[in-house]
Symmetry: C2
Subunit: 337 residues, 2 copies
DNA sequence: TGCCCTCTTGGTAACGTTACCGAACGCGCC
DNA sequence: GGCGCGTTCGGTAACGTTACCAAGAGGGCA
């Protein structure tokens, strides 16, 4: 196994100095075309690739052209779409993306962030988990840019891209109420997650505005997977006074719930998903645009990396309620029924 | 904005030499507890993080604890599952993952691979695109390990993890034929992609074995998105002699096709997807296990990184045909109908 | 007391690159 | 011819870390 060639090897091969090789490799001006050709020939012959590790070390206050992206779980389609969008933007800026999953574990998030900063990322996009993010303080102070996406990090004064979770869920629940439902179930992930908390608040606000007492028996928090959500639905519906409508707080929960949901129960899910329109009945959803969210977050990050020092801002992206049928199933109090 | 502290700063703060700081930071033995405590205090006070860029430079023949993962498109749920599995394995080995998408573009693949090697990754997992991969030769010779996943790279002698694409599709098409279909449509991505070619060959083999002439009018290649697949289905079904059954070569095509597919056309898709069982009719699929595939590929890669020098091998993971209904719709030649 | 051995500690030289400076060369002009 | 200038090139010193070696302190033993 050949050892990796260095500029010195290339220089020797081409009969020039290392500085000339450096200039050619980086496309710097001031090299005679004939010399450059000789160097490029040597580069090809030896299979030389510039070593960015050494390069970054020397160019201390330059950029590493690397950003980090930490999401809850890469396999989650919503997060995957954000990741893909972020990667596209990074590419436009000549950067690559380090990826990591927190799996909703603060210790793991810490480790991922540490691994990122140790690799001198220019900045990172995070979907923060529950807990204190004070450990990010020193990282930020040392110049690493941070943008939060999907979830806000309370106590951390950074750019944030979120959607109008509270309004969206409140409006959706109001819609269910208007369609004649009073016993509306709520299925959500861990309530401590910012997004989840906002959505739950929206649910409660809609009930309160309609003068409906919130029944804790209709609420299930902490659902982390499809099967957990399915079990929760089965249990809710087996209760003495089952709900006539359900709201699912995210797409994982929604898909899990739909696997066992009878077609006569009204249903609205947060996040759109493929084939929602082909279900029986077609599924009404609160749609957000993960590509737009990821793109916006990445643009904010690169603006910071490139010197934007304006005060941190929070961008609220819109959601759209897409009525397809499942959310329009009338409830027992529907007018005219 | 404070500049990033170095070991020298910590050493000055703690009143020790840099070597002592290095030892403490790396948990090396041979430092008196009292001294170590003083250093750790200084580390905390200054918010010091080890600079792995400099570390890697010095430890030239050591590992960078970074691997690359290049897939066609991160947002593709199949690829996202592989990415997630690979990240989990990487984490077990204390490594982080650089991610990149080729988007089926050889030039882009080259750039991503170059960006990976420039960052001295220990190895990479690739889903190679169409084209020659000779440019990987020098990278491999210089010690970067490569594992191909999902698709083989013809002409590249590396570990590869694939599924039995040919057999799986041939068996699925045989099943459609046994159910009375003779005009069976095929919807696929670019035929030049290894996986796609294998699946198409399986389709042709099943037809030939049954003595059915392959009708090119029933075959659509090069479908890169859901909408393209939907259009293709609409066109195929509008033809004078439309197919009575369809086989979709991957999940993106399948989901696109299902958006417009009438319920009386038999259908089998490659790759399982959420809620396939809840469609009307429930969708028969050839399922592969992306988590197992990604995990296997990552394990192979780390085995190589840790010194495995046995000859490259190809691991063929199993697929499972899951009959749910859509693939069992009888055709015009069904017995007893 | 002198010697050796262990424990702890620090100095120095790399790793591969680039920033900074200076040198060599050719050319035009006084 | 001498001088200045632009072009092309190379030497040297960093970047922050670790490998290697060496040195001082302290203790045990002859």
């Amino acid at each position: 196994m050949a050892t990796r060639p260095t500029m010195k090897d290339v220089a020797a091969e081409a009969g020039v100095g290392v500085m000339t090789v450096s200039r050619v490799v980086n496309g710097d001006p001031g090299v005679a075309p004939a010399t450059a050709a000789r160097v490029e020939e040597a580069v090809r012959k030896l299979g030389y690739h510039r070593d960015d590790v050494a390069r970054q070390l020397r160019r201390t206050n330059q950029l590493s052209q690397t950003i980090g992206l930490m999401v809850d779980h890469v396999a989650d389609p919503f997060m995957a779409a954000i990741a893909s969008a972020a990667e596209d933007v990074a590419r436009q800026h000549g950067s690559v993306v380090l990826i990591g999953s927190s799996r909703d574990d603060l210790r793991r998030e810490r480790e991922v962030v540490a691994a990122f900063t140790a690799r001198r990322v220019d900045g990172m996009v995070l979907t923060p988990v529950v807990g204190s993010h004070r450990f990010l303080r020193s990282t930020i102070e040392q110049g690493t840019k941070v943008v939060c996406v999907d979830r806000a990090a309370p106590g951390l004064d950074v750019d944030t891209v979120v959607v109008d979770n509270f309004d969206a869920v409140r409006d959706a629940v109001q819609r269910l109420i208007a369609n004649g439902h009073r016993r509306i179930g709520y299925l959500g992930d861990r309530q401590e997650i910012w997004t989840v908390g906002e959505r739950h608040r929206g649910y409660l606000a809609a009930l309160e505005a309609a003068g409906i007492d919130a029944d804790p028996a209709l609420v299930r928090h902490g659902l982390r997977s499809g099967p957990e959500a399915a079990t929760a639905v089965t249990e809710l519906l087996a209760a003495p006074e089952p709900p006539t409508a359900l709201l699912a707080g995210n797409v994982v929960v929604a898909i899990g719930a739909l696997a066992v949901l009878p077609p006569d129960i009204a249903f609205i899910g947060f996040d759109d998903f493929a084939l929602a329109a082909r279900m029986t009945p077609p599924v009404t959803v609160i749609a957000q645009d993960p590509v737009a969210i990821g793109t916006t977050a990445a643009h904010l990050l690169f603006a910071r990396i490139h010197g934007d020092t304006s005060p941190p801002r929070t961008v609220v992206m819109p959601t759209t309620l897409i009525p397809r049928g499942s959310g329009e199933i009338p409830g027992p109090y529907a007018q005219g029924s």
